[in-house]
């Protein structure tokens, strides 16, 4: 028995297990202390959009893991360009605003772009008032999509655009037509994300 305790393999396993146990314990405690709830994440997004956290009601809240995505509102525009809405919040109080989290697919290297989109009601018309980047996967040139790029998605009458079949396309922006950089693909994914909102408003708020 003494021989086992003194052996190298026993020492190796013990040291590794000890480090693992201490690291695991530390991370478990920190994970519990620093956990950010979905509500907190939503209120952070609201703060980004409004500058403060307004009162809101959750209309749709789907986690981004694969199992829950079946509940998301999916839009397939032409078989290639797709996207889905996974969060909708209705702002209560003085406004009839809607805040969407949408994911646009078919970006650079098949990745996607997630946006926060604020839709406001002005003179009985729904307008896209703010578009903020929330996250992305596989895109490498997101710095090229500056704030002016996102301002290009602002619309004064979303329902009218939906009825006329007007959807955003990255091809319209000549500055982003750069096949080497892949920025065009990223712009396409962002367009798909915004088009999901146009589809949702057009279908539900005529």
């Amino acid at each position: 028995m003494n021989k086992i305790f003194k052996s190298t393999w026993f020492k190796c396993i013990t040291v590794l297990l000890l480090i693992m146990a201490i690291a695991g314990g530390l991370l478990a405690v920190l994970n519990d202390l620093l956990f950010v709830s979905p509500e907190e994440r939503a209120s952070r997004a609201m703060k980004k959009i409004y500058g403060y956290t307004p009162e809101y009601q959750t209309v749709l809240d789907v986690d981004s893991d694969d199992d829950s995505l079946n509940d998301a509102i999916v839009y397939d525009f032409d078989g290639v360009n797709k996207g889905y809405i996974n969060k909708i919040y209705a702002i209560s109080g003085q406004t009839d605003d809607l805040v969407f989290q949408t994911v646009g697919e078919n970006g650079f290297k098949g990745g996607n772009i997630t946006l926060w989109i604020k839709v406001v009601k002005r003179n009985n018309k729904y307008a896209i008032d703010k578009v903020i980047l929330s996250g992305y996967t596989k895109q490498t040139l997101m710095s090229m999509l500056d704030s002016n790029f996102y301002k290009g998605f602002y619309l004064t009458d979303v329902t009218k655009e939906y009825n006329n079949g007007n959807l955003f396309t990255a091809k319209g922006d000549s500055k982003l037509l750069n096949p080497v950089s892949g920025a065009t693909k990223s712009a396409t994914a962002a367009s798909n994300a915004v088009n999901c909102v146009i589809g949702y408003i057009g279908e539900n708020y005529q």
Binding site: T8, K11, C12, V15, L16, I19, M20, A23, L26, L27, L30, N31, L34, V36, R44, S134, G135, Y136, T140, L141, S143, M144, N178, V180, S181
Partner: protein, 221 residues
């Protein structure tokens, strides 16, 4: 053992600069240097992980068996990277979004594993902490300078502030990152070889001088 702070600092920042001299941590260097601020953020995350992992590895250097040192180092580094991620997600979520995928990739960053293997596992805690600090600073300076040049040329801005509308988009692209990085490595090598040459010439001159002095002394005798 006396800690030579000056040597550790010079090694970490200049003579063994991880970005331009050792060409380590190339993945975040190329991908994140679209803006100067990204370099500072990434550098700060790496400094934290480097100091913490170096200190712990130095403390455990006599306990960790040689056969499992690499898995043990990776385990320790991964723990601190996860701590950084948790802290950033909680306190600075925007920064967490900016660094994105490159933050967990610090685990496999060669700089950290190299310092753990070549320095922390053989030196005292204080020396290892200082090595982590200065190597991290060297990495941060490298990333920030590269990011600044790419930001100025590619976006016409510096540290997020717009300077002019002129921009060459090539510098914002991955190809531009490789090009700028290559130019910087060449410049760094050129300057360090010039300094080395000067140093050698000085040494040589001193040697000749002392030899001449010796000769005159023997002649006098």
């Amino acid at each position: 053992m006396k800690t030579n702070v000056k040597k550790i600092a010079m090694d970490g920042v200049i003579t063994q600069n991880p970005t331009f001299k050792l060409v380590l941590g190339t993945c975040p260097t190329l991908a994140l240097t679209t803006a100067a601020m990204n370099g500072i953020y990434m550098g700060m995350a790496v400094i934290f992980v480097l100091i913490c992992s170096n200190v712990l590895i130095s403390l455990l250097r006599k306990i960790i068996p040689n056969q499992v040192r690499i898995p043990a180092f990776v385990l320790i580094i991964a723990t601190f990277v996860t701590v950084v991620r948790l802290l950033l997600d909680y306190f600075l979520p925007d920064l967490n979004d900016v660094l994105g995928l490159y933050l967990p990739l610090i685990v496999v960053n060669c700089i950290i594993l190299a310092r753990a293997e070549s320095f922390a596992s053989k030196n005292t805690v204080l020396a290892s902490a200082l090595d982590g600090l200065f190597t991290g600073i060297g990495f941060m300076i490298g990333l920030t300078v590269l990011g600044l040049v790419r930001e100025i040329l590619g976006q016409g801005a510096a540290f997020g502030l717009k300077l002019w509308s002129f921009k060459i988009e090539f510098f914002s692209s991955p190809a531009g990152a490789f090009f700028t990085y290559g130019v910087f490595i060449a410049l760094f090598s050129f300057i360090s070889s010039l300094i080395e040459k000067k140093r050698k010439l000085k040494l040589y001159a001193k040697l000749i001088e002392s030899k001449q002095q010796n000769n005159t002394e023997t002649e006098c005798e």
